[in-house]
Symmetry: C2
Subunit: 183 residues, 2 copies
């Protein structure tokens, strides 16, 4: 019933956005709704040990700057590609959280007729938004032209698509993608 859903949603607050998206993706995968995965973190491996009779151990490696987004996959024939970020900032999302080559990547995806967007969580307000690439591009250009370096929450409310949360799926972002396509 509705009450228990609400309770569970509260208990979910300790989860990271990544956990929530992974759970949602499992939900989609189990029900043949979509096949969307998080890409592994890119690593530069420098040194590996091969002990006899046991698994290879990486002994020196470094994190690399990601050149693409974190999630991609396929849904009803559409190529889905997105980056997910959460912010503690209550009033705006700082664009420094997105790498320029990620914006470039999303632009290339759009050129190939894929669907590219951001999922942004405002943690203090517990609000989730899907930001179509077209909206990101506009704000990114504004920044490059000397304008503000963040997207205010008010612009999310007016121009992005709010994502409904629940028990299962946790954040039904494909509903928001459907709205994007309908526009």
């Amino acid at each position: 019933n509705k009450q228990s859903k609400k309770d569970y949603s509260f208990s979910n607050r300790g989860k990271t956005l990544e956990d929530e998206i992974n759970e949602t993706n499992e939900f989609y995968l189990d029900r043949n709704i979509a096949v969307i995965h998080k890409k592994p973190v890119p690593i530069q491996i420098v040194n590996v040990e091969y002990p006899s009779r046991s698994a290879a151990v990486i002994r020196e490696a470094y994190f690399k700057t990601p050149s693409t987004t974190d999630y991609n996959g396929v849904w009803k024939g559409y190529h889905i590609d997105f980056e997910a970020k959460e912010t503690e900032n209550p009033t705006s999302f700082p664009l420094k959280n997105i790498h320029p080559h990620q914006v470039e990547h999303m632009k290339s995806v759009i050129l190939q007729k894929g669907i590219a967007f951001l999922i942004i969580r405002f943690s203090s307000a517990d609000k989730y938004y899907a930001v179509p690439y077209s909206m990101l591009e506009e704000k990114w250009k504004r920044m490059l032209q000397g304008g503000r370096k963040s997207i205010p929450l008010k612009e999310f409310e007016q121009e992005a698509i709010e994502i409904n949360t629940g028990y299962s799926p946790r954040i039904n972002y494909l509903e928001a993608v459907e709205q994007m396509l309908g526009k």
Copy 2:
């Protein structure tokens, strides 16, 4: 001219299939033909050092079994998903080189109307084939039913699509995908 292309192709023989596909993907990306990337190798990170004033160092990590394929992306609105393998075996491709969950993953991609296939290189013959998921599924089922545990080269010649190689792009596998779609 044609001669210099041939020479370069010969000098490419020391490259791994992964190098060749990465080069081809760069070619596609630079010309806005397609956006296809290799996924990072999945790693289980156990221990990370954070030295002051320098980058974090991973000091203990292990390779994880991949649950999906190595490459995916988008091309002309199609979701592209494939696994690449090379074999030194001159007469057949051993199916033990493919993980069961990779076959599962490819099946899920097909259900979502993505394009899933293998790229197989027979290193000794210097031949490259694109294997549509439908062909893989047939051979996989044959194995599960007690039949042979490999795909003979002869079946590649008859049922798979040979990939043309050249200087640039090195292996034009999207041409083979176009043929798959035409069938």
